[in-house]
Symmetry: C2
């Protein structure tokens, strides 16, 4: 049984703030500052170069990978940490394309996060030879998968709408047409139960600073299905992915399985920070997180529709087709969001008019949802958003 | 005037240890633990998502880049931080190759760090179309630069021998033959004055966990010469390298100049850690560091040759042709190094028989050199290395 009172107590939540933006950057685990201070003083400070073995820094990317594996339904030993999500997208996509050398099309959709599309654009441009990226609407992906598609590159949960793809169904369809799949789990890992193995996914990648609370700049992860793990050719052939890095051979020989997806020196401090968050996740049942997340989202939608008729639901109404976030559209969405933030309710805004709210049961309660909607309704009733300070346009990150 | 007593006082040096391995992982700046604790509690903890602007996280890669720029003789605004050195090698090499589309050869040498060679191998394999990596001996680089070479990929200072290439001369030679240059400054930046602009280098990359004391997994940097900055095509086309990342366009448009070399979310905690080290470097004159480093290396060589006749100098004898490290060969090098480490003198070992010592004047004094050689001589005289515990073979990182 996941104890949500316990999980909530593990996070630092600023006084007076209702944080509905854990889908952008999750809050700080309370244990992190002391752990990092100890790591700096005792590991780096005292052990220096010997820390790579003595403190297990070298083993972290795989050890943490195994903890992520449980959360995404991956086989143990088939997830490794490192780099950023964009780099992991590139690695997965390049490897997948080489496994389908007779095909030239990468298929993605307009609901994908732009960086995934950009990385794909950069890769197909570099490869030349008629490689191309085809981008269709999310609803058109299924019919667009044909015998020309080498790889589908899809994000399970849409960063704006929260719309969730059916990973198993689309993967089955892709395989039927001879294509491989790369799944981006940025808005899935830690938010809902994922089953990459059960869905028969070929590659999966994700970040750990959103729902997984690894902190700003936390490392990414990559999963390669066991059937491809020893065949995937690493385009980013770094020394820590070498079969014997410390032999300092002049020629690259890929390491066994997922090892070859390691590239350069891992970000040890960010990895250690992530470990403090995973200490919490180790005691969490993702099925229960999902159940509670659906409850919070449904509560939010119900209350908003009841008390804020100006807002129009932008997320799918069916919880089964949604991730752990809810978006509403409003003509003055930007100003309304600024007013909300000024009142301590943190969500975020995506142009032109989307207000996005993330719900993480690990630290968000039903009373928080109630209070947040109360504030939102008050802002709308009193037209509080219509003050000059909220209408001033500035960059939102 | 660089005050080496002051700089030494800024680092945590373990009691009883003489650390001659700052060329692998530099020691901890004393200010780092408190700074990171504050960053975690007040920036991440309290500001959460707003920290990207409020605490300048988004600006860090360029702001830190400018501080690195001073150390490597780069024009301000032309260095950016992020990822790992291997990734930056790949970025630079891919961009350089696209600037010489009619050529197919990447020229490197056997003194280059293996990861650079591996990344190049991965890239040319991915590109196909007759792209290839040619590896010659360090002494044969000059004559191997011909009209087929698209790019030279060289590390200025050899990680094993400390041998230093003449960056300006080889760059001039490359340009004469129509080739571009990618310089790896892993063992140069923070160790000796570098002048990428004066040498007319096209691209330069480096890491910050060695001489620059950024900690395990510290971010890398990349320099692109102003004349290429707006022409270089980013193979790793990430959203933070986009001209307008927060417009969330579907198509990639490279950012202006060095901005396009950004990829994904920067490792904010590792960046902040590096800042505490650069606070020290900001008060350091690299010409004086170099002078003192040469003095320490000369002292070490002189004392070792006087008192340890079993060891053979593996580094160039001429200081002008050397970085800030000295290597000696010895038949029982591995066991001798283990005995040294057990006595608190930390160097490292590279197969088959190379003992490597780094000298960082920021925290290593002449008395340390004297004491280290005294211990080394005692070990060799007493054949202390010949004990079973030192002959046991184990992995050295």
């Amino acid at each position: 049984m996941t104890d949500f009172t316990w999980t909530r107590a593990q996070f630092h939540l600023p006084m007076g703030m209702i944080y509905l933006d854990g889908n952008s950057l999750g809050p700080l685990p309370k244990a992190a500052p002391a752990r990092i201070e100890a790591m700096l003083r005792h590991e780096w400070g005292e052990q220096l170069i010997t820390g790579w073995n003595a403190s297990g820094w070298m083993a972290q990317p795989r050890a943490i990978g195994d903890r992520i594996a449980r959360l995404i339904g991956a086989e143990p030993g088939h997830v490794v940490m490192g780099d950023t999500l964009s780099i992991k997208v590139y690695q997965a996509l390049a490897a997948a394309l080489k496994l389908r050398p007779d095909r030239r099309v990468v298929l993605s959709d307009s609901g994908n996060f732009p960086s995934d599309l950009y990385m794909a654009q950069g890769l197909v441009k570099l490869l030349g030879q008629d490689y191309r990226l085809r981008v269709v609407k999310p609803t058109e992906v299924a019919e667009a998968i044909d015998e020309n598609v080498a790889v589908t590159l899809l994000t399970e949960v849409d960063y704006r709408t929260g719309r969730r793809h059916d990973m198993a169904a689309l993967t089955a369809l892709a395989h039927e047409k001879g294509a491989l799949t790369v799944w981006d789990l940025a808005h899935s890992a830690g938010a809902l139960p994922v089953d990459v193995s059960g869905a028969d996914a070929d590659f999966a990648v994700g970040c750990t600073y959103k729902y997984l609370n690894g902190g700003p700049g936390a490392p990414a992860f990559i999963y390669v299905a066991p059937r491809h793990a020893d065949l995937a050719e690493p385009a980013l052939a770094g020394w820590l992915g070498h079969a014997k890095p410390f032999d300092f051979d002049r020629d690259y020989t890929p390491g066994a399985g997922i090892e070859r997806m390691r590239v350069g020196t891992p970000p040890v401090v960010q990895m250690t920070l992530l470990e403090t968050a995973l200490d919490i996740f180790d005691r969490v049942d993702m099925a229960e997180v999902r159940k509670q997340s659906v409850r919070l989202c449904e509560q939010f939608i119900g209350l908003v529709e009841e008390s804020c008729p100006q807002l129009r639901l932008f997320s799918p109404r069916d919880p089964a087709q949604r991730g752990s976030q809810v978006s509403f559209r409003a003509e003055n969405g930007y100003a309304i969001m600024q007013a909300l933030i000024a009142e301590g309710v943190i969500g975020d805004f995506r142009a032109p008019d989307v207000m996005r709210f993330g719900f993480c049961p690990l630290y968000i309660r039903e009373t928080d949802v109630e209070e947040a909607v109360g504030i939102l309704a008050r802002i709308l009733r009193g037209a509080l958003w219509d003050r000059p300070e909220f209408l001033r346009r500035k960059a939102v990150t």
